[in-house]
Amino acid sequence: MPKLSEDAPQPVAAEDLAGLFRARREPMARLAYVLTGNSQVSDEIVQDAFLKMHRNWEHIANPVAYLRTAVINGCHSYHRHVAVERKAPVTRQAVAISVTDEISDALAKLSYDHRAVLALRYFCDLDDFEIAEILNIRPGTVRSRIHRSLAQLRKEIPQ
């Protein structure tokens, strides 16, 4: 941990970060899961996010937003490069992949950027501005991506 200057934010107590981990690990992993479909990968991404947060804690103003961004970026990186190492032994339950359904199939045909926007809107219930901040895009782009994604899904899913 770097030495703190006098005016730097005070480091969080270890038990507070641990409490945040207990409270937010599962919700963040659920978000990662809807984007990766893999429990272990989701867990790893969230663990990484917490480790990064731990290392950079003194610079983090909004831990929850930081976590969301780190998880979304982690999922993006996973989708692009998929080089995953693991800490814990694999279990069948963790590796098993469920048979895809109609919505899953349709979502899979979207780009990751579009799927991320949909998940943040309809799973996390975030507004345009919150999503824009997480993805580092303009709110107009968020609206556009949602519009396009829904239009594409409507083509794929009989209503």
Partner: protein, 433 residues
């Protein structure tokens, strides 16, 4: 019974998906105590010492599930045209020898003379041209920014771009190809471009008659038909569709008396950031111009490389029955409890594990799991493939699947397997590590 709104279906879907998450117990202190743990999602895996545990299973599974461009690339041989451009419903290269692509216009010599030496440079110049005032619908301004370049093969690439207009923006793809003139000099040419989901469907160009249709979505679709030199041959404007319209029927394109051997079909949908452009030659019909063929190239994991090929092992298995076991390493394949899925179980010395795949994943050809080194330093990779796959090779090592199952024991954690059918016309790459 009324179908729930798509938005509500998505919410329910996400919740039901997330409920499948399995998280083993872990305290934060345990996470911190793992002092040598590194960031786990990275471009390449970092060198690691022996841990005696599984390490790649998820990576291989992930390659099947979502694998990005870096992981799975499909190709057809002997043609050097990407696999995703081969199906008949997609635009094929123009028939006339003098027509290469959209930009620069002209034959190979003309393309090479323009000296665009990289995919990015030709895509940037192309987008700058198409977003210049003269080429835009009246009163409409647009700005395009190119992004990542994705190599498809040595002579084909995709350039991502973002198109911004006043109140909208959209992501798109420019497809580019490297051509060679009679002297052997090369240059890059744009062959298609589209913003996401924008496309012209059922395009045909027969006897000078251009037909097609497009989805009626928010905005006004404006079609311009040009010859390959850029001269406007015809323009059409679709019926305006308000933003809140209930999915109106497709609108059509019907333009007769064209005489050019190939025509460019360009469409803008204002005021949204929607654009697509493709080339169609006389005699072509039933093709799709725009997003779908480009997305197929950009997201090759969606292309079921061995689609249609059965997996006989699944048909012949009773639930839970093992079809292969007690090999030098124990590798088995068995039907799972969920219909239509196969699971691989594998073990090597003291480590073991399994992975399950549905048929769509298996159809990609890259359904595989991998084990970390055992105490002897061995690495086991095992996979299941459709009947159409006849060999899995890496360098001089060739593995033939038995009852849809293959495996190899190596001393390396990094692999690039070529999974091929019997005549070599279909090859996919499974990258691990």
């Amino acid at each position: 019974m009324n179908t729930p709104a798509l938005e509500d279906q998505l919410r329910s879907h996400y919740v039901s998906q997330a409920d499948k998450l399995y998280l083993p117990p872990l305290e934060f202190e345990e996470l911190l105590a793992d002092g040598d743990r590194e960031v786990v999602v990275s471009i390449t895996s970092s060198p690691r010492g022996h841990r005696g545990s599984w390490w790649v299973a998820a990576a291989a599974v992930a390659a099947v599930t979502v694998g990005g461009l870096a992981i799975i690339q499909g190709r057809d041989t002997p043609s050097n045209t990407p696999a995703a451009t081969q199906p008949s419903e997609q635009l094929s290269p123009p028939a006339t020898a003098s027509t290469i692509g959209l930009f620069p216009a002209g034959d190979a010599a003309a393309v090479v003379a323009q000296a665009y030496q990289t995919p990015a440079s030709v895509a940037t110049a192309y987008l700058a041209d198409r977003t210049s005032g003269a080429n835009l619908p009246t009163g409409y301004t647009a700005k395009a920014t190119t992004g990542e370049v994705v190599t498809v093969d040595e002579s084909h690439a995709l350039v991502n771009f973002n198109l911004e207009v006043d109140e909208d923006s959209g992501d798109g793809i420019v497809q580019v190809e490297q051509v060679r003139d009679s002297t052997g000099s090369t240059g890059w040419v744009v062959t298609a471009a589209s913003v996401a989901s924008m496309e012209i469907k059922n395009l045909s160009y027969i006897d000078g008659h251009l037909l097609g249709n497009f989805a009626a979505e928010w905005g006004t679709t404006q079609i311009t038909v040009l010859d390959v030199a850029g001269a406007v041959l015809a323009t059409r404007s679709g019926t305006p569709v308000p933003p809140d319209a209930e999915t109106p029927p497709d609108q059509s394109i019907d333009i007769a008396d064209l005489s050019a051997p190939s025509v460019v079909v360009r469409a803008w949908r204002t005021p949204t950031a929607s654009y697509t452009e493709s080339l169609i030659s006389a005699g072509q019909q039933g093709v799709v111009g725009g997003w779908t063929p480009l997305a197929a190239l950009a997201y090759p994991e969606q292309q079921a490389s061995f689609a249609g090929s059965p997996v006989s092992a699944l048909d012949s298995l009773a639930m839970g029955e093992t079809i292969k076991a007690n090999t030098p390493v124990d590798v088995t394949v068995e039907a799972s409890n969920d219909a239509g899925k196969l699971c691989i179980s594998a073990s090597i010395a003291e480590v073991s594990g399994s992975g399950c795949f549905d048929l769509e994943m298996i159809a990609l050809g890259t359904a595989a799991i991998a084990l970390d080194r055992d105490a002897s330093g061995r690495v086991l990779v095992a996979g299941i493939v459709p009947d159409a796959v006849s060999s899995i090779s890496e360098g001089s090592t060739i593995i033939q699947p038995t009852q849809n199952l293959w495996f190899t024991v190596t001393d390396s954690q990094q692999h690039s397997f070529k999974i091929a059918n019997s005549d070599g016309t279909k090859v996919v790459t499974l990258a691990i590590g």
